[in-house]
Amino acid sequence: MTKRVLLIEDEANIAEAIRFILSRDGWQVRVLGQGAGAQAMVAQYQPDVVILDLMLPDMSGLEILTALRADAATAGLPVLMLTAKGQGRDREAALRAGVSAFMTKPFANADIRAAVRDLLGA
């Protein structure tokens, strides 16, 4: 069965590139362009991994991560967080909140492919 990836990223061109890269790698990818509705989308789409941007226009990726970890159904869901350098404090907070892995922008396509494979145990 094809593994599902939910990408929560507001930058349309970045989202398009990641979706293309992962789709080519055989994953099924769905994109959510804002933080609102993230939990509902997770519940409905049942992704195997979530790629979550830290800086979203309407809310912090950290809030979404915290909400996911607070829900027993998604407490163990692998979450790859996209961050930028200089967000050290947020990264520490994300680690405490239970993030699975980080990817620093800008990243190489091979790196994000490898990170998702790792999280899915593929």
């Binding site: 061109n13 890269i21 800008p106």
Partner: protein, 422 residues
């Protein structure tokens, strides 16, 4: 500093000019001739009551024999000692004045280095704050990083994918063009922002308020004489300083319009530096009169202005009264007393600490304002004129500059221990 500038040498010069013998002067001052000899050769320090008696015998004010070591220099040296004592063993703080007397050149150099060091530390702190907290910088960086991330991924796809369908290729080319534009705009915004920061043009002065005060001092504080012009980059390199300076120029223009000459000069000649009486006579607000008094050409009147938090907004220094560059000022200043008693004139004779304490008359006044009308917050601004005290000024309120470098051992308002009494 030349030897002639030292207290002992000055005493000797005054005595010989009067044709008095050392023994006679010593006897009248109630000290031994040998002790006076040591004093006159700068081998014994003289201050307080002994200096006063010698000055009385020689018929001159004690202050005229003071050695010229400025309070500001001693303040800076104590500041340097305070900084050093936080990192390790303190230097001989009790001998600060002795050090300044004996090695004035080195003392001046050390004070300069301390000031520069403090300014650099503040620059770093300001930069750090900007990098981590400034929303404008954060947004600009986010824009640039997002564009670069997209460019890198999209370029990777175009280079790495041999069998890319034409419609996807066209789509990614379009994204590349879009992100290139976005990167250019973001980079320009970032460069413009960093350029406006102005540090490259003023490495020695990191705080806009200090830049503005240095600029005002260069204009002899006579802002009204600038005729309400716009502050240019040639005046002040940093945008923040220009904005502050423009604010004060505008205030000075309004003050000059509200208190025009010759009416103001006539009232000043009549009432002296009494802002409340001038205000009542000319129908202007008291703070405007205070600014007008202190910012007249060649005025020797000092001025400090603070907001309701006690933060100093403007400091026009006066010799002998040190306004701290760093850290909070002495809470006993009438400037702060006035904050709690708005619209009430407060006059206090204040005395600064030191080997030769200096007295000033401080006139303070606090004025509330309500720029948001009935539903807005009340703002307060307090101002204090620092005037020379008359000889018969009576009892004085002891004040300091800032707790850290104030030598007073007993002070009900002390916030933190002094390095001078530790």
């Amino acid at each position: 500093m030349s030897l002639a500038a030292l207290t002992g040498s000055r005493l000797r010069a005054a005595r010989t000019a009067l044709g008095l013998r050392q023994g006679d002067v010593a006897a009248r001052a109630d000290i031994s001739a040998s002790y006076l000899n040591l004093i006159e050769h700068n081998r014994r320090k003289v201050e307080g009551a002994v200096l006063q008696r010698l000055a009385d015998v020689l018929g001159q004010p004690a202050a005229s024999f003071h050695d010229g070591i400025s309070g500001a220099l001693l303040e800076d040296l104590r500041g340097a000692a305070a900084a050093a004592s936080e990192a390790g063993p303190a230097p001989e703080i009790a001998r600060t004045e002795d050090f300044a007397h004996r090695f004035p050149g080195w003392a001046g150099l050390l004070a300069d280095l301390h000031r520069q060091n403090a300014q650099l530390a503040r620059s770093l702190s300001a930069l750090n704050d900007r990098m981590t907290q400034d929303p404008h910088l954060s947004a600009s960086l986010h824009e640039v990083i997002s564009a670069v991330t997209s460019l890198r991924s999209t370029t990777g796809i175009l280079v790495e994918t041999d069998d890319l369908e034409p419609e996807w290729r066209a789509r990614f080319y379009g994204n590349l063009a879009q992100d290139s534009d976005r990167l250019a705009v973001g980079a320009r915004a970032l460069v413009g922002y960093l350029d406006g920061f102005g540090l490259a043009d003023s490495p020695g002065i990191a705080v806009p308020q200090e830049e503005v005060e240095a600029w005002m001092a260069a204009l002899d504080w006579h802002l009204a004489g600038q005729g309400g012009r716009r502050v240019a980059k040639a005046d002040l390199p940093s945008a923040a300083a220009r904005q502050l300076a423009q604010g004060w120029l505008d205030v000075a223009s309004r003050d000059a319009a509200a208190l025009p000459d010759p009416a103001f000069s006539t009232a000043f000649a009549r009432y002296g530096p009494d802002p409340v009486r001038i205000s009542a006579d000319l129908g202007s607000d008291v703070l405007a009169v205070m600014r007008r008094i202190a910012m007249q050409p060649h005025s020797a009147v000092g001025l400090a202005i603070c907001d309701a938090s006690g933060t100093i907004l403007l400091r026009k220094p006066v010799d002998g009264f040190a306004v701290p560059r760093f850290g909070a000022a002495c809470p006993l200043w009438p400037l702060f007393t006035a904050l709690a008693r708005p619209m009430t004139p407060i006059e206090v004779v204040i005395e600064t600490p030191g080997p030769v304490p200096q007295r000033f008359v401080a006139r303070a006044f606090c004025q509330p304002s309500h720029p948001g009308g009935f539903h807005g917050p009340e703002l307060r601004q307090s101002a204090m004129l620092i005037l020379p005290a008359p000889a018969d000024s009576g009892t004085a309120q002891p004040v300091g500059s800032t707790c850290r470098t104030c030598p007073r051992t007993v002070c009900p308002a002390r916030r933190e221990p002094s390095i001078l009494t530790a």
